[in-house]
C-alpha cells in the first residue's frame, strides 16, 4: 500500500500547516493565518449584524432575519435569562457578542481553504481573558473589591479550613480562563486535524487512479469512498461542534458571571 507510506509525511505536513505561521510581520508583532481569518470573521459578523439590524422589523420576514433572531432568542432565553437570571439584560450584550463571535469564527473555519480564528490558542486566550476580566469586574462591582475576594471562601466554614478552601477557590478561579481558552482551541484544532487527515487519506488512495486508470488502481481507490464518507460524517459533526462550542463558552461565561454576582456561596 503505497498510500500508507506517504500518509505519515502528509499528516506531518498537515500538522505543520496547522501551527501558527505569520502572514505579516512575525509571531510577536504581526498577523498569523488564524488572526487573519479571525479579522475576516469579525468583519463578517459586523456585516451580518448591520444587515440584521437594518432588516429586522416587527414582522420578521425571510430566512436570514428569522435565523439570526432564532439564535438571538436562544442566547437571550437559554443563556442570559436561564443562567444569569434577573440581571440578564445587563450582561446580554457581552454574552450575545461572544456567542456570535465564536460561532462565526467556527463556521468560517469550516469553509474549505479557510481557518477558524478560534483554532489558535492566542485567539481563544484573548476571548477567555476578556471573559475573566468581565466577570471579575462585575463581581467586584457587586460585592466591592475586598468583598468579592472574601466571597470566594464559602461562608460558615471554621477558621483554618476557610483559608484552605479560599486558596483552592482562587486556583479554581484562575483556572477558569485557561480551561475556557484550551477547551475551545482544542476542539476546533483537533476537529480540523481529523478532517484534514481523512481528506488527505481520501486523496492519497484515489491518486493512483487519477494518474493512471486500471482495474488494480480502481480497486485500490475504493477505500477513498469510505474515507470520503467518514469525512462527510465528521464534517457534519464539526458543524454541530462549531455551534456547541460557541454555546458552551457562552454558557460557562454566563455561569461565571452568575457566580461572581451571587450573594454568598
Amino acid at each position: 500500500m503505497e498510500a500508507f507510506a506517504k500518509l505519515s509525511g502528509e499528516i506531518q505536513e498537515l500538522v505543520a500547516e496547522f501551527s501558527s505561521a505569520p502572514v505579516a510581520g512575525d509571531l510577536t508583532f504581526g498577523l498569523t493565518q488564524y488572526s487573519f481569518w479571525l479579522l475576516v470573521a469579525a468583519v463578517v459578523l459586523a456585516v451580518v449584524m448591520v444587515l440584521f439590524v437594518k432588516k429586522q422589523t416587527l414582522v420578521p420576514h425571510g430566512f436570514f432575519v428569522n435565523g439570526v433572531e432564532y439564535l438571538v432568542e436562544y442566547v437571550q432565553n437559554d443563556v442570559a435569562k436561564g443562567v444569569v437570571g434577573t440581571e440578564w439584560r445587563r450582561h446580554f450584550p457581552f454574552l450575545a457578542t461572544i456567542f456570535f463571535f465564536i460561532l462565526i469564527n467556527n463556521f468560517i473555519g469550516l469553509i474549505p481553504g479557510m481557518k477558524p480564528g478560534t483554532g489558535a490558542i492566542g485567539c481563544t486566550a484573548a476571548l477567555a481573558l476578556v471573559t475573566f476580566v468581565y466577570f471579575i469586574y462585575f463581581g467586584c462591582k457587586k460585592h466591592g473589591f475586598i468583598g468579592y475576594w472574601k466571597s470566594l471562601a464559602p461562608a460558615g466554614v471554621a477558621f483554618p479550613m476557610n483559608v484552605f478552601v479560599w486558596v483552592i477557590e482562587v486556583f479554581s478561579l484562575l483556572l477558569r480562563p485557561i480551561t475556557l481558552a484550551i477547551r475551545l482551541f482544542c476542539n476546533m484544532f483537533a476537529g480540523h486535524i481529523v478532517m484534514g487527515s481523512f481528506s488527505i487519506m481520501a486523496a492519497l488512495f484515489a491518486e493512483p487512479l487519477l494518474e493512471h486508470f486500471s482495474a488494480m488502481n480502481a480497486l485500490g481507490a475504493l477505500p477513498s469512498v469510505a474515507w470520503l464518507a467518514i469525512l462527510l460524517v465528521i464534517y457534519a459533526v464539526e458543524l454541530i461542534v462549531a455551534f456547541v462550542q460557541a454555546y458552551v463558552f457562552t454558557v460557562l461565561a454566563a455561569v461565571y458571571i452568575q457566580i461572581a454576582e451571587a450573594e454568598g456561596h
Partner: protein
C-alpha cells in the same frame, strides 16, 4: 481483503496521528508550544473582539432587544384585544339572541292579540248580522201581517159588495148600501175574519 484494507487504514491514521508529536516537538521546541498564545494572535483577537463588543453593545443589541420586546408586547396586546373582542362578540351575540327571542315573543303575542281581536270582531259582526237579520225578519213578518190584514180587509169589502149585489139580485130588491143588510153582512165577515185570524 477489503476489511483488511480498512484495518490497515485506521492503523495508519493512528500511527500518523501519533507521529506528529515528536516531529512537532522537534521543530517547535516542545509540544506545549502549541498551547502558548502568540502575541500576533492574542493582540489582534483582543482588539477585534473589544471593538466588536463595544460597537454591538452600543448600536446593535439594545435596538435588537427593543424590537423583539416591542413585538412581544404587540403580540400580547393583540391577543388580549382579540380575546376581548371575542368576549364582546359572545356578549353581543347573546344580546342579539335575547332581542330576537323577545321580538319573537312579542310577535307571537301580537299575532295572538290580533287573532283574539279578529275573533271578537267576527263575533260582533256575526251578532250584528244576526240581529239585523232578525230585525229584517221581524219587519217582514209585520209587513206581511199588515199586508195580509189589508188584503183581507179589501177582500172583506169586496165580498160584502158582492154579497150585497148578489142578495139584491136574489131578493130583487135594491138595498141601500148603507142599509141594515149591509151592516149585518160586514159584521158577519168581521166575525168570520177574526175567527180566521185566530
Amino acid at each position: 481483503m477489503k476489511h483488511n484494507v480498512y484495518v490497515m487504514g485506521l492503523a495508519g491514521v493512528a500511527a500518523a496521528l501519533a507521529l506528529p508529536r515528536p516531529a512537532f516537538a522537534e521543530e517547535a521546541a516542545g509540544g506545549a508550544d502549541i498551547l502558548i498564545p502568540k502575541m500576533a494572535e492574542f493582540i489582534p483577537a483582543l482588539i477585534a473582539f473589544l471593538i466588536i463588543l463595544i460597537v454591538l453593545a452600543k448600536m446593535a443589541w439594545p435596538q435588537i432587544l427593543a424590537t423583539m420586546e416591542e413585538r412581544e408586547k404587540r403580540i400580547a396586546d393583540s391577543l388580549d384585544e382579540a380575546e376581548k373582542t371575542r368576549q364582546k362578540a359572545i356578549a353581543d351575540r347573546k344580546a342579539s339572541d335575547d332581542i330576537v327571542t323577545d321580538a319573537r315573543r312579542q310577535a307571537a303575542e301580537i299575532v295572538l292579540a290580533a287573532r283574539q281581536d279578529a275573533e271578537a270582531e267576527r263575533s260582533r259582526i256575526l251578532a250584528a248580522a244576526h240581529a239585523e237579520a232578525e230585525d229584517i225578519l221581524a219587519k217582514a213578518h209585520t209587513s206581511a201581517e199588515e199586508e195580509r190584514r189589508s188584503i183581507y180587509a179589501d177582500a172583506a169589502a169586496s165580498i160584502a159588495d158582492l154579497s150585497v149585489s148578489v142578495a139584491s139580485k136574489i131578493v130583487a130588491k135594491t138595498l141601500d148600501e148603507d142599509g141594515e143588510q149591509r151592516r149585518l153582512i160586514e159584521r158577519y165577515i168581521e166575525e168570520a175574519g177574526s175567527l180566521n185570524a185566530d
